[in-house]
């Protein structure tokens, strides 16, 4: 039955999802905007974040989940960022960031990360305790307080990233490279190094979103597929490389996906989302026009 409180619940779920989605998608969008490559392994970085979070909360300290959570927030981005830099050095640089070869190479990376986690972490989906547990009472239902905190943290991290891009020198280099990499290089911007940093930054943002959602979704070696698909959708609908568009699309799609998932079916929501991407790209490949040679 679709009641008022059901709609409100759906809206809430959607909003939380949208905030996390924005964080995940931002990394993908940055990487495309600056480097003009599509990283198919992006979802695996999210998964790695979740796995590190599990490891921190259960294994490492065995102490209060809040401590594990905070440690994970610090450690996961570092580990995943390092993996990303290695991937950039060893592979992406060597194929010269050629769009099609990068896609195939990152597909390989996807398999390697996924199966690597399978080999070490195992095939099980393992739950995590949320760092803080409390319920917020709304008319008609109680809602997980942790989820609201997730939304808040996601927005905070988005804001921090925005400041980083807008106010720091590296952020300036990134924006310059995004606009015109050749001119940027002529002006002394270390483009290759910027690429490595951007790729790492994208991975770190993904890892952070993984840490945030781990207590909600658990950690599982196949969990990267969903965030990848949704981030893809957001980045394409919002316009590849267009950061503001990414955020708007994340809001729209996150809330839409959340609502349809709660009110109807998660699978149906995803079907609609994938067809939406296809439709946008067929009608307006303009968002991708900068990546294809004409």
């Amino acid at each position: 039955m679709i009641t008022g409180s059901a709609i409100f619940l759906a809206l809430l779920e959607g909003s939380v999802g949208a905030a996390v989605l924005a964080l995940t998608a931002l990394g993908l969008s940055l990487v495309f905007g600056v480097m003009r490559v599509i990283n198919i392994a992006h979802g695996e970085f999210v998964m790695l974040g979740a796995v590190v979070a599990w490891w921190c909360s259960a294994d490492l300290l065995g102490a209060h989940p809040l401590l594990g959570f905070l440690v994970a927030l610090a450690v996961a981005p570092l580990i995943v960022g390092a993996i990303a830099v290695a991937a950039d050095w060893l592979v992406l640089r060597r194929v010269n960031y050629d769009p099609e070869r990068t896609i195939v190479a990152t597909m390989g990376l996807l398999y390697i990360i996924q199966q690597g986690v399978l080999m070490t972490y195992g095939p099980d989906a393992r739950p995590l305790d949320p760092p803080i547990y409390f319920r917020v009472q709304f008319p008609g239902f109680g809602y997980s307080g942790y989820k609201l905190i997730v939304a808040g943290l996601a927005l905070l991290l988005l804001g921090a990233t925005w400041l980083f891009l807008a106010r720091t020198r590296i952020g300036l280099y990134m924006r310059a490279t995004r606009l015109d990499s050749e001119t940027a290089q002529a002006f002394g911007v270390p483009v290759k190094r910027v690429y490595a940093i951007v790729f790492a930054l994208g991975a770190m943002l993904a890892a952070l979103s993984g840490v945030l959602i781990a207590p909600i979704r658990g950690a599982h070696y196949l969990m990267g597929a969903d965030p990848l698909l949704l981030s893809f959708i957001v980045v394409i609908v919002g316009g590849l490389g267009n950061l503001r568009g990414t955020l708007l699309a994340a809001a729209f799609i996150g809330i839409g996906d959340g609502m349809i998932s709660v009110l109807f079916s998660p699978t149906l929501a995803k079907i609609i989302a994938t067809l939406l991407v296809a439709a946008v790209l067929v009608v307006k490949p303009g968002g991708l026009a900068r990546s294809t040679a004409s």
Binding site: V91, A105, G108, S265, L281, L288, S291
Partner: protein, 317 residues
């Protein structure tokens, strides 16, 4: 036919003849493997027509494979069709899906094409899960088909020899078709489109129509592989539409050498045994070998093995 052409056709016919003869010498284990490899090769040959010849990278060919497989499987399961009839339905379904897809991506190329095909395959995969009352979801449909009645003989599908030769016939047809295509005026235009589409357009070719036709041929051939796979092995499930079945033909084609006629067979065969070997080690994450293969090929063998041989030959002569 010129001397060079005769030699090339003779070589490929020899490969087919070799595959025919070797079945009498193969131990049972490899017998089933080669059957599968030949079917995968048909899938890869279909894929190669789009990637190797026309230069269009698709990440959604599982869509066509699954269309063929589900066409055949659903017809056999819900309507009681026999093997030949089910095969026809499978091929028809793949043709239909190819036509519709081709219309959707008529003006789409490059990275956009890649993502659209990925999304369409994903939507198909999710649909097989959503409509699981019809498709039985990821559990899949197990078929028990009656024997094929051909020229008075009754061919049981459970018989490995029937499976092998059915796959061989399909492979031979696909190989010769792809070879003929490669050397025909039509095929030469596809290669031209791959090399320089703007130039090709101004040489008087409606390149979008050529791409469309290539996609329809590619999708139907891939669907044939799917339909035959479903009939010969008696199963179709959601996994047939998953990303894995879109990655694999890409891998086989790249490994074997895109743009060559025999590359797909080479790639499918090598990858099959590589994965068999990896899984026999007992390590749980053995599919990592697929990832490593993709990275290695992209870095060091972008033209695949067949292309690498060709380059060696040219250097030596």
């Amino acid at each position: 036919m010129s001397g060079a052409a005769t030699r090339i056709y003779a070589f490929h016919l020899a490969v087919i003849a070799a595959l025919f003869l070797v079945q009498f010498a193969l131990p049972a284990y490899h017998y089933g493997n080669v059957t599968r490899i030949m079917l995968y090769a048909v899938f890869a040959i279909g894929y190669n027509i789009l990637l190797g010849y026309t230069g269009l990278l698709s990440l959604g060919h599982a869509l066509f494979f699954a269309a063929g497989a589900y066409g055949a499987g659903l017809a056999a399961h819900w309507w009681g069709f026999g093997p030949i009839a089910a095969l026809a339905v499978g091929i028809g379904a793949a043709l239909l899906v190819s036509l519709v897809t081709g219309a959707i991506v008529y003006r789409t190329t490059g990275v956009a094409f890649l993502i659209v095909t990925l999304m369409l395959a994903q939507a198909a995969f999710l649909s097989t899960l959503y409509f699981n009352t019809i498709t039985l979801g990821d559990q899949g449909i197990v078929l028990s088909l009656p024997p094929i009645a051909l020229f008075g003989a009754s061919l049981r599908l459970a018989d490995p020899m029937v499976k092998y030769n059915a796959a061989l016939i399909a492979f031979a047809g696909a190989l010769l078709l792809s070879l003929w295509l490669l050397r025909s005026p039509f095929g030469r235009v596809l290669v031209a489109i791959r090399e320089n589409e703007a130039r090709t357009r101004l040489l008087g070719y409606n390149t979008a129509l050529y791409r469309f036709t290539a996609l329809v041929i590619s999708g139907t051939l891939s669907g044939l592989a799917g339909a035959l796979y479903c009939i010969l092995f008696g199963y179709v499930g959601s996994s047939f539409a998953s990303l894995q079945y879109s990655t694999e033909p890409l891998l086989w084609t790249l490994l074997g050498g895109a743009g060559t006629a025999l590359g797909p067979l080479l790639g499918a065969g090598i990858m099959f045994y590589l994965i068999e070997f990896a899984s026999s080690t007992g390590i749980e994450g053995y599919m990592i070998i697929v990832g490593v293969a993709l990275v290695v090929i992209t870095l060091w063998f972008p033209e695949g093995l067949a292309g690498w041989f060709r380059r060696l030959k040219r250097v030596r002569s």
